[in-house]
Assembly symmetry: C2
Homo-oligomer: 340 residues x 2
């Protein structure tokens, strides 16, 4: 089977954005809307998926998507921890409902109610709820809830340990994923996303986090930002910092997805990064929705690039399915239980 | 001939750093040291180059290096515009003296006395001095003088136009190069440098700067950050933003160096980016000084990767020499005048 580990609910019914606008407006004064004021029917949810993600999954032969709230809409920089708590709960519930409507095609991953300056321990209640009630198999962790001002400590800081302790307890990985940039220097999907991937990788390289959490797992999206392209630089920096080889220092715990939207990038990724550490993903319908005039196919139709890469059938199976089952153990167990 | 367009004076005699420390100490109160208190003899300069950059240039067959002050030492975030003015003048003079001692091997590029919040117009006097008195052929422009807080406007903002007007007048390119990060999230050479390259590229993609300055030229170092690896993403984003093809939108004005420290990265760079836009560089002796255990050669010995890339002799000549002469017209004229 083919598992896409990186999908967001980018096509939610417009009522969601309308509710969020009311919530944001209330921050300037006035009553905040309650979560129950957002009403989206199952038919609306179904329709928003059927003609979008599900249609493309069927076209491309993708069986299952790990599905989380829209990354750019997380916008943790807006309001305070309470603002984010209400907003995260709404979005996580919507993704849960989608996975309930299409139980063989979508499995949930949770956003966290992060907020700049707030203790990540404040996210644990929502994380527990999403694991225990919704059965999510992963979380998205934003290393920069400020939205491009980078005011939180690096991911190796004890600041983040409450989240890591829960991740280890539940055996769920985190995808390191920022949200909208509110810094004019950083275009959200063209700079901030990719920079955050590179930044997170280098934070992990500089530290020794996995000495404290040997089973902790991170997925760096968007093909690992710049890391695979500059793998020699990173191997060299690790060597200068007297770290072990990257293979030993990071690659038991750090994984890369395949959201790289052209063939040469996928060639590089699959050539440089051990096949155990590459997980299929497309992040469709996302940042780049158009058709590549050079190929006639969608930029984000990453399956074509993987199919064309120089991989053995066994390696391709790992990237499409095997690694996802291993890195997302709750997903693996769920599929095992279904006999899949 | 082989021209390395990206060298910094990373091996300056220790007196330079000692002077800088006194300057920084004076910011807390007390008298600042005067520039004339820094005394470094020609013999000291010669020695610092002979056993370092020049030895490696000879080993690797590099004929000429475009040589600028040490990037991480620019540290524009320290002090104010006056602090940076004194510091830039000292560093530019040292590089000028090096190029005077080895006139066939080094040609200068200037750092600017940037400072967070200061008008870049304040850099023009130093820029003019470096062109007219020192004969520099390029400048280094720091898009983030705050050192990792990204408080300046994007490179497409009119904020930067005074510098661009001078660049056009003198026909000199700018290498977009940040300095030390003072944001704990960003490792200087592992994250901040690479992020800045990606960020600058996306700023230029998002804007229409070259409509205002058709002859303005930027070199994005470190192989363009993440841009070539994610070239499909950038082509797709440009398409969604209704920009022309990247070839027409940016590639008359934006160039990439070859500071990518492993063979697969150089394969990707030379495969994805048109050969007219790739300029040989190594940034030695810089961020990654060690020997790659996988090859037995220095990570930053980028000539080996170019030699091994799938390029015709004519293409290799462009990368090694032809593009540098074209993108750095004052360098081209200087070499022409010497009959080289």
């Amino acid at each position: 089977m083919i598992i896409d580990i990186h999908g967001h609910y980018t096509t939610a019914p417009p009522a969601l954005e309308a509710w969020r606008k009311r919530q944001i407006a209330s921050l300037a004064g006035g009553a905040a809307p309650s979560a129950s004021e957002l009403r989206i029917s199952d038919d609306e949810l179904r329709e928003s998926i059927l003609v979008n993600q599900l249609a493309k999954m069927d076209e491309r032969g993708i069986d299952l998507t790990v599905f989380s709230p829209r990354a750019s809409f997380m916008a943790h920089h807006i309001g305070d921890a309470q603002t984010s708590a209400t907003w995260a709960a709404i979005n996580n519930e919507l993704c849960h409902r989608v996975s309930g409507l299409f139980p063989d095609r979508f499995v949930g991953a949770a956003m966290l109610p992060q907020s700049p300056g707030a203790d990540p321990a404040g996210c644990i209640a929502e994380l527990e709820r999403c694991v225990n009630e919704y059965g999510v198999v992963a979380i998205n962790l934003n290393p920069d809830p400020s939205g491009g001002h980078w005011t939180s400590p690096p991911l190796t800081d004890r600041h983040w340990y409450p989240v890591y302790e829960k991740m280890v307890e539940y055996d769920i990985p985190a995808m390191v994923h920022v949200s909208t940039s509110c810094n004019a220097c950083f275009h959200t999907t063209g700079a901030h996303y990719i920079n955050a991937d590179t930044t997170a990788f280098m934070q992990l390289l500089s530290g020794d986090l996995f000495a404290d959490f040997p089973t902790l797992k991170f997925v760096i999206p968007h093909g690992g930002g710049a890391a695979p392209y500059h793998w020699g630089r990173y191997r060299g920096l690790a060597q200068e910092m007297k770290k072990p080889l990257l293979q030993d220092h990071l690659l038991n715990n750090v994984f890369f997805d395949t959201c790289v939207y052209h063939q040469p990038g996928i060639y590089l990724l699959t050539r440089v990064i051990p096949v155990d550490n590459v997980l299929f993903a497309s992040e469709m319908i996302g940042a780049v929705r158009g058709i590549d005039p050079e190929t006639g196919h969608h930029f984000d139709d990453t399956r074509r690039y993987i199919d064309a890469a120089n991989l053995s059938p066994a390696e391709r199976h790992q990237i499409y399915e095997g690694n996802a089952r291993r890195v997302y153990p709750r997903l693996g167990a769920m599929l095992d239980a279904k006999g899949l």
